[in-house]
């Protein structure tokens, strides 16, 4: 084998592995996993950024309101009666009070509509809707004496 032939073979081998040849090579069915992972990460990050920008503009002090979305100032505030007393001073935390826990002297006078009553924590006295009964009435029932719901153990019938 001559030196010239050796150089030709080396050039041929180099040409077979050139980028041009690689482009023309048929695409394989499997992509590079690293490249796929990068694209997925980029897509998720973009989705998150768009969603954050679109739905939480108020959280970002410097972010301008996106076009087409209402800001807090755009939402019409409900009318507040000027004479309505505030139960809590501005800035104070609203608290929930149970009526029955209030001292009598502190209970405001309530004018309830006809048929309404103040519920009590006592389940026996509290009005219930659709309360489960131990028995099945066949006609409209009325209670003639309310008592602790004991389940009757004995049932009398003809036998």
């Amino acid at each position: 084998m001559t030196a010239n032939a050796t150089t030709k073979d080396a050039t041929k081998a180099k040409a077979m592995t050139s980028p041009l040849d690689r482009k023309k090579a048929p695409a394989t069915a499997r992509q590079d996993p690293g490249e796929l992972r990068w694209w997925i990460t980029a897509g998720l990050a973009t989705t998150y950024l768009v969603a954050w920008w679109a739905f939480a503009p108020a959280q970002v002090s410097d972010a301008p309101a996106p076009t087409g979305l209402a800001t807090e100032a755009d939402v019409t505030a409900p009318p507040v009666a000027a004479a309505a007393p505030r139960s809590t001073p501005p800035g104070a935390t609203n608290v929930v009070l149970w009526w029955h826990e209030l001292p009598l002297a502190l209970r405001p006078k309530l004018e309830l509509p006809a048929g309404w009553q103040v519920a009590t924590p006592d389940r026996r006295a509290a009005p219930t809707i659709g309360a489960q009964r131990a028995w099945r009435p066949t006609a409209a029932y009325r209670t003639v004496a309310q008592e602790r719901r004991r389940r009757p153990r004995v049932r009398t019938r003809s036998s």
């Binding site: 099945r136 009325r142 389940r151 153990r153 004995v154 009398t156 036998s159």
Partner: protein, 333 residues
């Protein structure tokens, strides 16, 4: 709770305050009481003392228990003006109730007639309990040959009374609706002051329904109705509540009578007698007896309360029965 079956009935013992092993022992003792009563007084057991009396052709030497039952029955006949009468045994057989009821019911579908039909044209005699001669001193019973005795419901009530003597202070014994309620239901142990036991009164038109809830304490309750022990006899329905005046299943404007009394036997007898008598005469009968309360369900849906009852809840169609005259005259036909 402890349950057993005797006298063709479910017997239930409620004694929540007792330890489980004591409750089981008590339940077995109660079962023995019922078994002994059934062996003596059943008219469906060939060797029972009552069956022997019904077959006897001459003076019958009765046991003290049978003698005592017959003497009490005599008192019940007088108290109910003859609407309770144990001499209906023959009429029950003629109506088809000649075996224990589960057998009668099973047979009714295939044979819709009494097993011993009365011969055509034969007018049945209407026996009366006065014809039964009870010689208490000699322990003998004389029975006309054509009279068959049936002490069914009365004996069931008496057995509940007898078994209830075994109960502890706060307990209840229920024999298919005939019940004795003693003391307070321990479920009310934290005490709302009401005490007693709550007893539901079944709606005779709906076995799952309730027409009233009563509170009973140291009392007994029993119910009579024609909605359960009934069967087809020919083209008609027959039931076990025989009217001694006609010798046939009672025709009445009442669907059901529940009686509260001091003893289950008394409650059972009065419930049966009032049912047979109808709402007007039944209320009149019950209202003159002290210590007796009653819930009457009329066929038109009216719910009538009589006497001293602690009614906890009741159906809307109810009204208190101030006096027997408050009922429209709709007595049994």
């Amino acid at each position: 709770m402890f349950s057993l079956r005797a006298m063709d009935t479910e017997i239930t013992l409620h004694a929540p305050g007792l330890p489980a092993e004591h409750r089981a022992a008590l339940g077995l003792a109660v079962g023995d009481v019922f078994a002994a009563a059934e062996a003596r007084f059943s008219r469906f057991l060939h060797h029972s003392e009552l069956s022997q009396l019904n077959r006897a052709t001459e003076a019958f030497a009765a046991s003290p228990a049978l003698l005592a039952a017959l003497l009490r029955a005599r008192g019940h006949v007088a108290m109910t003006e003859g609407r309770f009468d144990p001499t209906i045994g023959g009429a029950l057989i003629a109506a088809g109730y000649d075996q224990s009821f589960d057998r009668v019911f099973a047979r009714a579908g295939e044979r819709a007639s009494p097993s011993h039909p009365r011969p055509a044209g034969h007018a049945a005699r209407r026996p009366r309990f006065e014809e039964i001669d009870v010689d208490e001193a000699r322990g003998l019973v004389y029975r006309p040959l054509d009279i068959q005795l049936d002490l069914g419901g009365m004996i069931k009530g008496a057995t509940v009374d007898e078994a209830s003597r075994l109960l502890p202070r706060d307990a209840a014994l229920d024999a298919g609706g005939d019940a004795v309620l003693r003391g307070d239901d321990p479920a009310d142990g934290d005490g709302d002051g009401s005490g007693g036991w709550l007893v539901e009164v079944e709606d005779p038109r709906d076995p799952d329904g309730t027409v009233a809830t009563l509170r009973l304490r140291d009392q007994a309750v029993a119910t009579s109705a024609a909605n359960r022990r009934r069967w087809r006899a020919g083209q008609r329905w027959a039931h076990h509540l025989i009217d001694p005046a006609t010798g046939a299943p009672a025709r009445t404007d009442l669907l059901q009578v529940t009686v509260v009394a001091d003893r289950a036997e008394r409650a059972e007898v009065l419930a049966k007698a009032a049912f047979i008598a109808g709402s007007r005469d039944g209320a009149r009968l019950l209202s003159r007896l002290p210590g007796v309360g009653a819930v009457l369900v009329r066929a038109d849906g009216a719910l009538l309360f009589l006497g001293a009852l602690d009614v906890v809840e009741h159906a809307a169609a109810a009204r208190p029965l101030a006096a027997p005259s408050a009922i429209a005259p709709q007595g049994g036909p």
